[in-house]
């Protein structure tokens, strides 16, 4: 947990320590220009509010992925063909949101008294009211979503070609954590009081190890610990990085407000005077104005 926090803070500070020398938003809509032309205030934001909304859409709803299509060129013609392809968007959105819900639900193990919103989440999550304990939608969704993301890495030749060991590692780790958690909840019941005792002990730095917790729990815990420790050194830091992305979090106002480059330095230029001296005779013959006759 400490490695996770320190690691993430370190990574974010490291990014933040490099300045953004130029104002480089990717404009995905009409700029703000003439008064009678309707600007696209979110896709090409020119105000702080616009940027905030653009970022919120990006982070909460994965706006850019929502644009996704599949394209290929067919040899007959040739023809460029487009296909709708929202599966990646849906799969990742489903995974990330259920992940968030699950993390929030787990607060009940660490905090005493348990905050009200955790019960609310539990209630909403279990609204299907099937089985006892009730099946939580997020548990089902996260496993399905992870399996989809994993099969995609195997099934799509393009994605398989670009995938690294780390990409599979992250997916398997998350799957392992989710499945071991689900097993504990529905099949091999774990003494929750004991778990909470352990968790609170850990959070308050006075751990006690109750005897009544099963092996499965420690498998779950080990994988979570590994994930947390691994997180800051892996691509999973995209969680923090997305907030800093200069093509999304800057306003398209670069002709309205000057953006300063902190490390700007003077460069060698070909001055007008040098230029005129070099082309003096030609300028004179062409009867164009000169600074020095």
């Amino acid at each position: 947990m400490a490695a996770f926090l320190v690691g993430i803070v370190y990574r974010v500070l490291k990014w933040a320590s490099s300045p953004v020398p130029f104002n480089i938003p990717t404009t995905c809509g009409q700029q703000k220009s003439l008064g009678w032309i309707k600007p696209s205030w979110i896709e090409s934001p020119y105000t702080k509010l616009g940027v905030a909304v653009r970022m919120a859409l990006e982070i909460l709803l994965f706006r850019s992925l929502f644009r996704n299509t599949r394209a290929e060129i067919r040899r007959d013609g040739p023809r460029l063909l487009y296909f709708e392809d929202k599966w990646l968007w849906l799969g990742t959105l489903a995974f990330h949101w259920s992940m968030l819900l699950i993390v929030l639900r787990h607060l009940r193990f660490f905090v005493e008294p348990v905050p009200r919103f955790v019960f609310v989440i539990d209630g909403v999550d279990g609204f299907l009211q099937i089985g006892a304990p009730q099946i939580l939608i997020s548990d089902v969704v996260i496993v399905v979503a992870l399996l989809y993301l994993l099969q995609r890495r195997f099934a799509d030749p393009k994605v398989r070609y670009i995938s690294l060991f780390a990409d599979y590692l992250a997916l398997f780790l998350l799957l392992g954590i989710a499945i071991s958690g689900i097993l504990m909840r529905y099949f091999f019941k774990v003494d929750l009081e004991a778990v909470k005792q352990l968790a609170i002990g850990l959070v308050t730095f006075s751990p006690t190890v109750p005897a009544s917790i099963g092996v499965l729990f420690f498998v779950h815990l080990t994988m979570v610990s590994f994930l947390l420790a691994y997180f800051p050194f892996s691509k999973l830091v995209h969680m923090g990085g997305v907030f800093l992305s200069p093509t999304r979090n800057l306003a398209n106002d670069s002709r309205m407000r000057r953006h300063v480059n902190p490390w700007d330095y003077p460069v060698k230029v070909h001055t007008y005077q040098e230029w005129e001296a070099e082309f003096h005779d030609k300028i004179k013959t062409a009867d164009l104005p000169l600074e020095r006759e």
């Binding site: 130029f22 990717t26 009409q30 040739p78 830091v237 490390w263 460069v267 060698k268 007008y272 164009l288």
Partner: protein
């Protein structure tokens, strides 16, 4: 130098299944037609850049400096500390693959290293090896790769097969922009003298003479006077086109192709006619006779060195503000970089249209206005008499230049103008226009015949969308506001979709503009006869 382009049937044998094995160990084959030749030593030397020498990419020995590896790694370290985008984009990619089929080069070549994600992994793997904890310890397992000469060659091949069009960054859930990565790698390659002549010769010309084509002051004047004669022939009106005139209200900067290449030249005629008609107080400059900036395809430093001339000349001539012509990457630099690089432009005034009184508040700091913003404002205020039927021989579609769409967001102005100056205007399919526009495949310094195969492949998605509107509406003119598009799309369209010409927005404005005291027009600005019968309508 130029290779005969391959046959269409051969080029479309595209299979989107990656080769066996993993990508880390494949070597680049420098097959003619897919890469650009090296920069001539004289150009490298003139610009004062490192390691001028004679070498070619297809040779085994690239004559790198003995300590090339240290130079590159030191350069990487510096840039990681200076550019947050670089550091961030090295870290946060999750290889989801959403960008893969968004790249025109990938779509047209199916070369997996043209997927933006893998293009970036070419340097990310090296970043991990030398700059991350996991990469240093776990090497290959952490996706890290040694920096070798083969890797450097691969960088050269693939980062000069990226047009910095930013289409992938529209679709990336983290906004990772391959253009930023390409710029960084090209900076690094330049540190050891690995660069192309197609980029550095124009840059050297621009530095010395004032424009990419190396047109000297007297030839510049001849060229403009030639255009003035042409305008007289078409309209019967003798106009003025001032050059280097102190005290003019506006400095007008265009890409040099506008006064020295076709079809750009017809756009120049359009500007000249428009400025005469509204009585604009402006001047051209021979010192700052280039709006484009091939420095942008090498390094930020070279960008700044070339771009400096525009503000310097505006100050010397004592103008109030600057107006810029139709060009793509020029506007990426002007809109997102110029003020930062060479500002503040506090010696200029906030741009105000002298005709309509409109304040261009969106340009209040940089003080440079796009010609399409300027003209759209004129038309909106009814300051021009237009006869769109004089463009009836054209069925028009509009190609959004990448930089204008994704690095500026100027989408509506050119459409507004064109809907007022021509009667037949049709959009290409929505996945291929506006922020999703497809690159011509020749931007960022790739627009030569040397790499014609790569260009034809990269241009296929764009050309295919043109083919669609040609079939559906009979489009015979593609307009655009980018000088590189105008220079390279004619070749690509002739190859993929014959029968479609390329032109500029202000070419159509020139045709439609009814000028006071003009003679009855019988031709358009290209000298082609207007449709019979139209003249009668105009005079009715």
């Amino acid at each position: 130098m130029a290779e005969a382009p391959p046959k269409r049937e051969e080029l479309v044998q595209i299979t989107y299944s990656p080769p066996p094995g993993n990508w880390q160990n494949t070597r680049v084959e420098f097959r003619k037609g897919t890469f650009c030749y090296s920069a001539a030593a004289k150009n490298v030397r003139y610009l004062g850049m490192p390691n001028p020498r004679d070498w070619q990419p297809f040779e085994e020995d690239w004559k790198l400096p003995p300590d090339w590896k240290e130079i590159i790694l030191k350069g990487m370290k510096e840039r990681l500390e200076r550019f947050r985008p670089f550091r961030l984009f090295m870290d946060i990619c999750v290889r989801c693959g959403a960008c893969a089929d968004k790249c025109h080069f990938y779509l047209g070549s199916a070369d997996p290293k043209n997927m933006p994600v893998l293009r970036a992994e070419l340097i990310r793997s090296v970043y991990r090896r030398y700059f991350t904890f996991a990469g240093r310890i776990f090497r290959g397992l952490a996706g890290a790769r040694e920096l070798t000469e083969d890797v450097l060659k691969e960088w050269f091949y693939y980062f000069y097969q990226c047009t910095e069009c930013r289409r992938c960054s529209v679709f990336c859930p983290f906004g990772i922009d391959t253009a930023e990565i390409t710029m960084m790698v090209r900076e690094l390659l330049n540190l050891v003298g690995v660069n192309t002549n197609w980029v550095l010769e124009p840059a050297a010309n621009c530095y010395r003479v004032g424009n990419h084509l190396g047109i000297q002051p007297h030839a510049f004047k001849d060229s403009i006077e030639f255009a003035v004669d042409d305008v007289e022939e078409i309209t019967g009106i003798r106009i003025e086109a001032p050059i280097n005139r102190r005290g003019a209200e506006i400095l007008f900067v265009v890409p040099s192709a506008d006064y020295f290449a076709t079809p750009h030249y017809y756009t120049l005629l359009g500007y000249l006619m428009l400025f005469h008609e509204i009585g604009l107080d402006y001047t051209f400059s021979t010192y700052a006779s280039e709006g484009g900036n091939f420095g942008f395809f090498s390094s930020h430093e070279l960008t700044k060195r070339l771009n400096a001339k525009i503000y310097a000349e505006a100050r010397r001539l004592g103008v109030k503000w600057i107006l810029g012509g139709e060009c793509g990457h020029m506007w990426r630099v002007v809109h997102q970089f110029m003020d930062t690089l060479n500002g503040p432009a506090d010696f200029l005034e906030e741009p105000v249209s002298p005709i309509t009184g409109t304040r261009f508040e969106n340009a209040r700091s940089t003080k440079m206005v796009h010609i399409c913003e300027f003209t759209a404002d004129l038309i909106h205020h009814d300051k021009l008499t237009l006869d769109p039927s004089r463009n009836d021989h054209w069925t028009v579609t509009y190609h959004d230049p990448c930089n204008i769409a994704r690095g500026m967001g100027l989408l509506e102005e050119p459409r507004y103008i064109q809907r007022r100056v021509c009667n037949q205007f049709y959009e290409m399919p929505e996945n291929t226009i506006r922020e999703q526009t497809f690159c011509c495949g020749s931007g960022a310094g790739l627009g030569t015949d040397e790499n014609i195969e790569a260009r034809l492949r990269g241009g296929l998605p764009r050309a295919n969308a043109v083919k669609y509107v040609r079939g559906k509406y009979g489009v015979n003119l593609l307009t655009t506001i980018c000088a590189i598009d105008k220079a390279t799309l004619p070749t690509l369209l002739e190859y993929w979709v014959p029968g479609v010409e390329v032109g500029g927005v202000h070419e159509l404005v020139g045709n439609a503009l009814v000028m006071k005291g003009e003679k009855e027009r019988t031709t358009d600005v290209r000298g082609q006869p207007l449709r019979p019968g139209k003249e009668a309508v105009i005079n009715a």
